[in-house]
Amino acid sequence: MSTQVAQRSNEEWVSDLSDPIVDQTLEELRAILLRGLRAALSSRIDYDLEAITEDFAQDALLKILKNVDTFRGESRFTTWAQKIAIHVAFSELRRRRWKDISLQTLIETPDGDEFTPKILTDPHQSPEDEATQNDIMLIVERLVDEELTERQRTAMLAMLQGDIPISEIAEKMDTNANALYKLLHDARKRLQSRLEEQAGLSASELLALFDAS
């Protein structure tokens, strides 16, 4: 007797999707993933939703079946499965979006936010705060040149100026996302320490100064 989807427990999902797989359960999960993918992608992509969501759902199901024994039961099974489907979809969409774009082009292209007093000056911000912000930004600009390796500088600019996802930066730099994240985290920790010394402000004071603007 099939359990209605809404009432199926995590244990039932895992059991039905472990060898031997219950086909009806698999198809019910596919339908759920498709509904979720359509809801997530309809406002984000403007090409054929039907075909692409079918492909993503199929790839996700393969990944879910391969990893079903890693599900720890800390959430609903369907939430965990949907997360995998979203990750599969967005990994592919990012790859397509960024594949023909070079890091160097993005870093060298102005991000459209050149200094203009009108855009970047907050009328509610005191002149003293603005002057302090400018001083701190000059310190950071110097520290980035002095403290970072070329690789760290490139990656950091790509992330912050180009808004490029770290997975795509890593791909273009022949590394993986986690290794690159660690490289940047180490860089940020070092910069934080230097910045606090030279600005004479703690990290939380720096955040407060810039958050307010």
Partner: protein, 82 residues
């Protein structure tokens, strides 16, 4: 050496100032994301239970995008079941 714009420098200062000794990389964030999102859907302060997930989402455009999409996916499923 290319000039860094003021807007990018501002983002850099914020990113540097917000750095924690311990942070999650993308894999760790993704590992906890389903728990974070379920608490979010229940309005139960996910950032309190998973502060390092929140910290990562605030600074990682890829993971943040997936988190938003997962929320939309789950809300879409709930709406269609209603």
């Amino acid at each position: 050496m290319s000039t860094i714009s003021k807007a990018t420098l501002k983002k850099m200062v914020m990113a540097i100032a917000a750095t924690r000794i311990e942070e999650y990389d993308c894999d760790l964030c993704l590992e906890k994301l389903e728990m974070f999102v379920e608490l979010d859907l229940l309005d139960e302060n996910p950032e309190k239970s998973y502060p390092l997930v929140k910290n990562h989402l605030d600074s990682c455009v890829g993971c943040s995008e997936e988190y938003g999409a997962l929320l939309d996916a789950l809300r879409g499923i709930e709406a269609s079941a209603a």
